[in-house]
């Protein structure tokens, strides 16, 4: 072993790497947010009495959960080109990750809603609330509590999976790392540094989500 570590190129590239980390974070937050919203919609239309809607949701969920994420990104980036739809790397990665996240979240929502007793809706409705108000003020807060933990896991997963974006040409953290690697050939150093940055991003994200949860779920804390 006569490999000489050389960290200088990494340190020189650090500003760019950190900037690319912001892209990673942005893509992840956006995909998670969209995934949460679309997952909720999927959850509802899968219960719809209209068969084509139901079939649409089921297909989405099945494909999202049972095909490689990388393929999903390629479909949005290259595949849609066949139909004359050309998305930028950024848009296709966000689209693919949200597509994926929505599929998983639809399943998670199912568990979350099942955890809310039917009487909650009945009580809300007898107070004169509309179905929407009952959902918004009574059921969803409880669903959110139930899905919060799986949701944080999902978010970690998205941050890491966003690295696949480099294969669609996105200059997020992995893409940027690969770029510097190809110019300096300090493979180990660059990917080591990127791994550490991923680790730190993930940990910080979890801490932030924990703090948000701590503020959100006061009832939980009071019970203890």
């Amino acid at each position: 072993m006569d490999y000489q570590f050389q960290w200088r190129p990494v340190i020189q590239a650090l500003p760019q790497l950190l900037e690319a980390s912001l892209v990673t974070l942005q893509v992840s937050v956006l995909s998670m947010g969209l995934g949460l919203l679309m997952g909720l919609v999927l959850y509802f239309i899968r219960k719809s009495p209209i068969l084509p809607l139901r079939a649409f949701a089921t297909t989405w969920i099945e494909v999202a959960r049972n095909t490689p994420s990388l393929f999903q990104i390629f479909i949005f980036y290259w595949g849609l080109g066949e139909f004359g739809i050309f998305l930028s790397p950024y848009v296709s990665v966000v689209a693919a990750l949200s597509f994926n996240c929505a599929g998983y979240m639809a399943e998670t929502y199912r568990g979350g809603f099942a955890a809310v007793p039917k009487g909650q809706n009945m009580a809300a409705r007898t107070l004169g609330m509309t179905a929407w108000q009952s959902l918004r003020y009574v059921e969803l807060p409880q669903v959110l509590r139930a899905i919060y933990h799986p949701m944080t896991n999902q978010f970690t997963w998205i941050i890491l999976a966003s690295s696949l974006g480099m294969l669609a040409g996105l200059r997020e953290l992995s893409g940027e790392t690969q770029y510097f690697n190809s110019r300096t050939f300090r493979t180990f150093e660059f990917f080591m540094a990127a791994a550490v940055i991923y680790y730190v991003i993930t940990k910080i994200a979890l801490l932030v989500l924990k703090a948000i949860g701590w503020n959100l779920f006061k009832a939980e804390r009071a019970a203890k």
Partner: protein, 241 residues
């Protein structure tokens, strides 16, 4: 005034209501008694529109509950409902539980909604529980919370569906006392209950529900002390409370 006319209701092939007639006047307390699974809850839910009916008519102050054009959310504000499983909102404090509907349904501002909520919580004896979460309250307290929550909408009628059946025996009294207080305040109430002493002492009239109809109905003492229906006689002698 609540009027049920020839109300029919089935679940699939199971006929639960087979022509129920009942008129409840302002200020009246009517208790509904009857065997488990006979359809008492269903009857209440047909009044507040939680269940649809197959035929017949239910009117509240002249408004047809099940008519197409009826604004059911508006109508329900007149009809407070208290369930056996009190259904307190676990993510909200007692005060927030009660203030929620005044805020989002009646569109009161935050301060006004809290004021209404505080007044009703005081009324049911939960003055010292404003900031408690349901998980920190006993079943009896949660049921009184549910009553306060219904009262905060200023209902003209209260529907109670076995409000004390899920409670430990020692917690029943505090809830019954709250219901007594409402009755003496002149609230119009329909009370599905297994508490025979409540039915006898607090209600103006008692109705015995049997096989999809109200088999016997009359002044409380009369029905409870000299029942005519043989099934009611048997039902009353087998009821311990």
């Amino acid at each position: 005034m609540i009027i049920l006319e020839n109300v029919h209701k089935s679940f699939g092939s199971l006929k639960v209501l087979k022509g129920v007639n009942l008129t409840v006047h302002e200020g009246e307390v009517v208790s509904l008694i009857g065997a488990s699974g006979s359809g008492k809850s269903t009857l209440l839910y047909c009044i507040n529109g939680l269940e649809k009916i197959d035929s017949g008519r239910v009117t509240v102050d002249g408004t047809d509950v099940h008519a197409k054009g009826t604004d059911i959310n508006k109508l329900r504000q007149k009809l407070g409902t208290v369930f056996q499983q009190w259904n307190s909102f676990p993510h909200l404090t007692a005060l927030e539980n009660v203030a929620l509907a005044p805020r989002v349904v009646s569109k009161l501002d935050k301060a006004a909604a809290r004021e209404v909520a505080a007044a009703q919580l005081e009324r049911v004896g939960l003055k010292d529980k404003f900031d408690h979460y349901p998980s920190q309250m006993s079943g009896g307290q949660q049921q009184r919370l549910a009553i306060a929550r219904a009262l905060a909408m200023k209902p003209d009628y209260m529907l109670f569906d076995e409000a004390t059946s899920a409670l430990d025996p020692e917690l029943v009294t505090e809830v019954l006392d709250t219901m007594r207080m409402l009755a003496s305040d002149g609230m119009t109430m329909i009370v599905v209950t297994h508490e025979m002493s409540f039915a006898r002492d607090v209600s103006d009239r008692v109705a015995f529900f049997k096989q999809g109809v109200l088999a016997e109905i009359g002044p409380a003492r009369e029905v409870m002390e000299s029942p005519k229906d043989p099934d009611l006689q048997r039902f009353l002698s087998s009821s311990t409370r």
